[in-house]
């Protein structure tokens, strides 16, 4: 009980933190603090693998599709992204522009749909609002290291997978951790609200004494550097991104909830989903995917073999 209360307080505090510079949270702390209990309910249910997460609609380009026509009329693709995922979707603090592997993919889809990779409007979407933003039609697609889960498939559609996903543990090197259970026993762990890691910790704390939930995984790195938490559970790729920003931390132990990442699309927009699947195929075929991987990820993640989806 005590722990829960403390964790809640921290959630509130960090949600407020995110509020101010909008790491992409629904800034006003209250919403953040409430951490989207309602929509999270379904999403946070243990991911029962009762569905095929790699299944999506067949690729295709239907210029008469309702959603495609709407986007073309508007002249810009509205993409929900993150500003805090290093090498994936982040705001380059020196140029102010949004860059990364997910961003390259967004540009490729914009080029496919509108003929111009720059006809794109980025909207920062907090981790906890990825699904809602698509459902509410605030954005056309969300490209934001989102793991395809059966629970999420109840609410939105996903493209074919474009990258391997899984949850990994990040700890300071000085902790000398070797596995998830061993690394978390008796420790304070941090995760992003409504993320797969949040979901995992809900069903199994792995011996952690305290769970701190924040709006964005990068807030966990701040807390870890300030000594306010001991470990972070996050997407494998974001764990690697954290390690790339701080040489004193490392990614350790086994991968939990292994799966795939996909582009999130509204269930009603099957024409857009088919188009995105086609764009993904083209992106793979013309070497765009590999070029982007080599530019952003090869340095911190090595060979792309284990990450690429091969149907």
């Amino acid at each position: 009980m005590m722990q829960t209360v403390r964790a809640r307080a921290l959630v509130a505090a960090v949600a407020l933190a995110a509020g101010v510079l909008g790491a992409g949270t629904s800034v006003g702390a209250p919403q953040g603090a409430a951490r989207a209990q309602a929509p999270a309910a379904a999403e946070l249910a243990p991911a029962a693998d009762t569905c095929d997460t790699t299944k999506s609609v067949p690729p295709g380009k239907d210029v008469n599709g309702a959603k495609i026509r709407k986007i073309r009329e508007r002249g810009t693709l509205v993409v929900g992204i993150d500003q805090n995922s290093y090498h994936w979707g982040y705001r380059n603090p020196q140029t102010g522009s949004i860059e990364g592997f997910d961003i390259d993919l967004a540009h490729a889809i914009a080029k496919s749909v509108l003929g111009d990779p720059d006809r794109i409007t980025f909207k920062a979407v907090p981790t906890a609002r990825r699904i809602d933003a698509v459902k509410a039609g605030e954005v056309d697609v969300v490209i934001r290291t989102t793991t395809i889960t059966c629970a999420r498939l109840q609410e939105v559609s996903f493209s074919k997978p474009y990258f391997a996903a899984g949850q990994r543990l990040v700890v300071p090197k000085s902790a000398k951790a070797t596995g998830v259970d061993q690394g978390l026993k008796g420790k304070r762990v941090c995760a992003a609200a409504s993320s797969s890691s949040d979901s995992e910790l809900k069903s199994n704390r792995h011996g952690a004494t305290e769970v701190t939930i924040v709006p964005n995984q990068l807030d966990c790195l701040v807390l870890m550097q300030l000594g306010k938490v001991d470990a972070t559970l996050t997407d494998a790729v974001l764990a690697a991104a954290q390690a790339a920003q701080d040489p004193t931390i490392e990614v350790v132990g086994e991968t939990l909830l292994a799966g795939w990442m996909g582009v999130v699309v509204n269930q009603a927009d099957t024409d857009l989903l088919a188009w995105v699947n086609q764009a993904l195929l083209d992106y793979k075929a013309d070497g765009g995917w590999q070029r982007s991987y080599d530019h952003w990820l090869a340095g911190s993640m090595g060979s792309s073999d284990q990450y690429a989806y091969k149907p």
Binding site: A13, V14, L16, A17, V20, L21, G22, P93, T95, K123
Partner: protein, 463 residues
């Protein structure tokens, strides 16, 4: 029915000098034997009346010195302590809020952050640190104020450290910098600014209290003075009726000194009240209105910048912008909120020499609102970069940021004028009151001496 000691053998003497016996009667009962002998004769009665009169006059002097002295110290507090402290507290709040907003501007401008933005942030922190040190050094601050000062003193270096960590990460091109800036900003918005606001409230309350003490009328001194004057007059009248001597130089002198002290008390008190009222209406009150407007302008500016940092992830900041600018400019007809905005209020309360700056600031506010709307329209149309340029574009003078800076500068000028008006009016009030307190005491002693001398002369008639 009268006291048994007096009645009987001394009944005729008692009836002969009723005037002298009247003020003494109460004392008589408590020291019957001694006073009985003292009042045995007209000289005894005279002596007692003189002692009572002199005591009354001295009591007036003492109460006046004490009451006016208290008001002098309160006026001194207003001028040199609670006045400046409440102004400093508002400045501390402003500096902290501005530092946070400026840090966000620097983040938005990324690699294009001009030296001026960096400098502004540094100046804000320096000002806050300097004023906090000053406030902490003033022993007169209340315990409550000292508590908030101590907390802020402890939090300021933490905040600065977080912002520097953010900058170091930004310089390496890491998004971690943005996360640190959020964390720092949360510390500022959720902990430090509320503390600074509590400090402002504590110092404002202290100022109001000091004004209250300095401006309250010294009723006890007035009452005692009038009572002493009446007794002195009545006594002289009786004496005149009994002895047919018109003047007793001592008693007349005593009356004159007492009258002078009373007139001074009245005049000096009125003058001090005038000066204090002036310091309030041309200084403290318009400054408070100005501080409200400046705080709201800062909040609006922060909301504007943070909305761009937020990049569409919520409508929190657009909502806050509408609210705060509504408070600044006044609610439109039919909308909720006071119709008179805080800028209009600051303009209405401003003394004539500061009103011009506030009027100019209101014009800048209109410009700022227009430019903000243009930028917001661009953002709504999906052109984030154009919105960014229209809001904070480095080195441009047609941005929303430039209009805000001009507004803030005008309000700052008005504040300088109002601060000077406050100082001119409040300074010296305490000195005048201190002289009055001392002077009243001296006049009361002279008056008492006059009473003693005047009655001594009459006593000599009996020898």
């Amino acid at each position: 029915m009268a006291t048994p000691v007096i009645t009987g053998e001394r009944a005729s003497a008692g009836a002969a000098v009723p005037a002298a016996a009247v003020p003494a009667r109460g004392v008589v009962r408590s020291g019957r034997a001694f006073l009985g002998r003292a009042l045995d004769s007209p000289p005894g009665q005279l002596r007692l009346a003189g002692a009572v009169l002199a005591a009354l006059v001295l009591l007036f002097g003492a109460v006046t010195a004490w009451q006016v002295g208290t008001r002098a110290s309160a006026a001194g507090q207003v001028a040199s302590s609670s006045g400046p402290l409440s102004q400093d507290a508002a400045e501390i709040y402003r500096s902290l809020a501005d530092a946070d907003t400026t840090a966000a501007s620097g983040f938005l401008l990324a690699g294009n952050e001009p030296a001026a933005v960096r400098q502004r942030y540094q100046d804000d922190l320096t000002t806050a640190a300097r004023l906090l040190a000053q406030a902490a050094a003033r022993a007169s601050s209340s315990a409550e104020a000292q508590r908030w000062i101590a907390e802020l003193n402890q939090q300021l270096p933490q905040y600065a450290g977080l912002v520097e960590t953010a900058r170091a990460n930004d310089r390496q091109g890491l998004p971690l910098g943005g996360a640190y800036l959020r964390y720092a900003s949360a510390l500022m918005q959720d902990t430090m600014l509320p503390n600074a606001q509590r400090l402002v409230s504590a110092e404002s309350a202290q100022l109001d209290q000091d004004y209250g003490r300095a401006e309250s009328a010294p009723w006890a001194a007035f009452a005692l003075g009038l009572l002493a004057l009446a007794a002195l007059g009545a006594y002289q009248l009786r004496l005149f009726r009994r002895t047919n001597r018109v003047f007793s130089p001592g008693l007349v002198g005593a009356t004159a000194a007492l009258l002078a002290a009373l007139v001074w008390l009245l005049g000096g008190g009125l003058a001090a009240g005038d000066s204090l009222a002036e310091s309030r209406t041309a200084g403290a009150e318009p400054l408070r209105a100005l501080d409200d407007a400046r705080t709201e302008a800062l909040q609006a500016h922060a909301a504007e910048n943070l909305n761009l940092v937020d990049r569409g992830s919520s409508d929190t900041y657009t909502t806050r912008w509408s609210e705060v600018t509504g408070a600044l400019g006044g609610a439109a007809a039919g909308a909720k909120g006071p119709a008179e905005g805080s800028l209009a209020r600051a303009e209405r309360l401003a003394p004539r020499d500061a009103a011009g700056s506030v009027t100019e600031a209101r014009k800048q506010f209109a410009t700022w609102s227009d430019r903000h709307k243009q930028a917001a329209d661009k953002e709504a149309a999906g052109d984030y970069d154009a919105a960014l340029q229209g809001t904070v574009g480095a080195g441009k003078n047609d941005t929303a940021e430039a209009a805000f800076a001009a507004l803030e500068q005008q309000l700052g000028q008005a504040a300088t004028v109002e601060r000077a008006r406050f100082k001119a009016a409040a300074d010296g009030v305490d000195g005048g009151l201190e002289v009055l307190a001392a002077g009243a005491a001296v006049l009361a002693v002279l008056s008492a001496a006059g009473v003693v001398r005047g009655i001594g002369r009459r006593l000599a008639d009996y020898r």
